[in-house]
Assembly symmetry: C2
Homo-oligomer: 321 residues x 2
């Protein structure tokens, strides 16, 4: 198939966002952000076998690739406008492309974000690079350097599901026998189909500091503390867990390391001023407090329980290190 046919067939649908003045088809796209707003830009590259299991369905890959980028926009409090997609393909498989395209369009529609441009090339392994654009009122972005001592530390949703889902996908014999099929399906879905926390981010911009949990709760908490020059105390018992994750930890308590250190949750980790009332719709759980009681970047457990080291996912960690 010719590159132009491929783009036309699978990646060229009408833009719907009024900020998108020109989408796929020219040398570049043209965006017209709402007057007075700033543009927020995030980019993530995903490689098959590294960022998702090789067997992941094409539509789930599309969903995840867009979701992880929009999670970065959510973590700034931005509203999505559009995205570009660079796609490195080992082969031209029409059934795969059809499923990928369908999944991408569904995800784009779901989050109100237009595909505005991209590139398709041959690559030895399936490789996706998305750059997502959003808009935000000037000066209100949720930054990781804006937390203050006394802020509550809160997280959206539940933590650790994706890390456990990765065990379900790749090491099914390691899954505790007490987990039923619905638990397994739930954890896999959390791995494959993360949901960017756009509504919470948008509601809290101008009022919070924070970031999204892509590298693992404790590692990302470390980033927040380093950037803001603080330490933290957290309460392990307060960390929100899904019923499936709770059953898992009841059966195998040592896997708390995976829950606190595994990546791919794409929940938001936020520092919230003490007086801010929390809306139920934001799905927030307070898990601790930021302070200056310890060295910058350190985390203490309220009851003195040990915490795993900062063990988030690191693409360049040496083998065995």
């Amino acid at each position: 198939m010719q590159e132009f046919d491929l783009i036309h067939r699978y990646f060229d649908w009408p833009a719907t966002h009024r900020a998108v003045s020109l989408a796929v088809g020219d040398d570049a796209a043209i965006l017209t952000p709402p007057p007075g707003e700033q543009l927020v830009v995030a980019t993530d590259m995903l490689v098959a076998g590294r960022h998702f299991p090789d067997a992941t369905a094409a539509d789930a890959i599309a969903h995840k690739a867009l979701a992880v980028n929009l999670s970065d926009l959510a973590a700034m409090g931005a509203t999505p406008l559009g995205f570009t997609l660079s796609l490195g393909l080992p082969e031209t498989d029409s059934a795969w492309l059809e499923s990928f395209s369908t999944g991408l369009r569904a995800a784009a529609d779901r989050w109100g974000c237009d595909l505005v441009g991209g590139d398709t090339v041959r690559a030895p392994q399936l490789t996706l690079s998305i750059t997502a654009f959003g808009s935000i009122a000037r000066g209100t972005a949720i930054r990781r350097d804006g937390a203050r001592a006394g802020d509550r530390l809160a997280v959206t949703g539940t933590v650790g599901d994706a890390a456990l889902g990765l065990v379900v996908a790749l090491q099914p014999d390691q899954v505790p026998s007490g987990l039923n099929d619905a638990d397994r399906a739930y954890l896999l879905d959390r791995l494959d189909r993360p949901e960017p926390r756009l509504a919470a981010g948008q509601a809290l911009c101008g009022q919070a500091a924070g970031l999204d949990i892509s590298d693992g709760l404790l590692q990302d908490l470390g980033h927040l503390l380093d950037a803001s020059g603080l330490s933290a105390e957290i309460d392990l018992d307060a960390v929100p867990l899904s019923p499936a994750a709770r059953r898992w930890l009841d059966a195998r308590p040592a896997d708390i390391d995976r829950v606190l250190g595994g990546g791919d949750d794409y929940e938001l980790l936020l520092a919230l001023p003490p007086g801010l009332a929390l809306e139920p719709a934001w799905d927030l759980t307070v898990i601790g407090r930021l302070d200056e009681a310890g060295p910058v970047g350190t985390v203490r457990e309220r009851a003195g329980r040990p915490l795993p080291g900062r063990r988030g996912y690191n693409h360049f960690r040496e083998e065995g290190a």
Copy 2:
């Protein structure tokens, strides 16, 4: 090396553009385009061994990866603001990264374009995806669908050097013996270090239609004609050639196919209204005229000489097709 150390060491330098409100280090970057301007967005993915020879120097790869994206901005008439870089690396080689980083920063400084964010991952083959952002006065972008019958067809610089440079790089025994070392070095340099035609694009926005020559003169001319619903007549004798390319064609006339059909020139191909005075600084050569004399998308040679088919580079062409 840890991912964060790698980013900090090689990809984190102060932003200089006043439109860049927040650069590398948070979940996303924040851009504040000049009031009343639109944002232009282009993206290209490059894979080693496919978009540049495996042996290409790291600083040249950085230069080219940014240049091809900025060429898309130039082809819209935009002024660069910033870019993101996703980098898939097979290994962490400090000397390579040092050279790549130095080349990238030099290119970014040269074109006034800040690195605002990115991602680094492991990949089986060196893979780069850049997304570049520029700004442009509202409604003045140079589009490929804006040409009119009667427009002159013009090209910046010289055509075909990069295609001949690829022969120098990969099939040195195919280079005509009359070419001297300086010719070979010149052609290689044109392949490795394209120069985006930013000044010409910016000067002509609001007054021209067109695109950049990335797939080959004839194929890209076809895109312009298809988008604008026109045909064209070109004069082969008018196509601007470098002295090295002229010597090459004198020795091997059949390689006119490479010159007209080879990609990677990154010159601008423009449709210019008849009355527009051409400034010498734009380095433009008129090579033909747009009309409605033939079927849409077709090109005739003024003296009736045969033209190669539209033979631009196509990443998804089947082997042997």
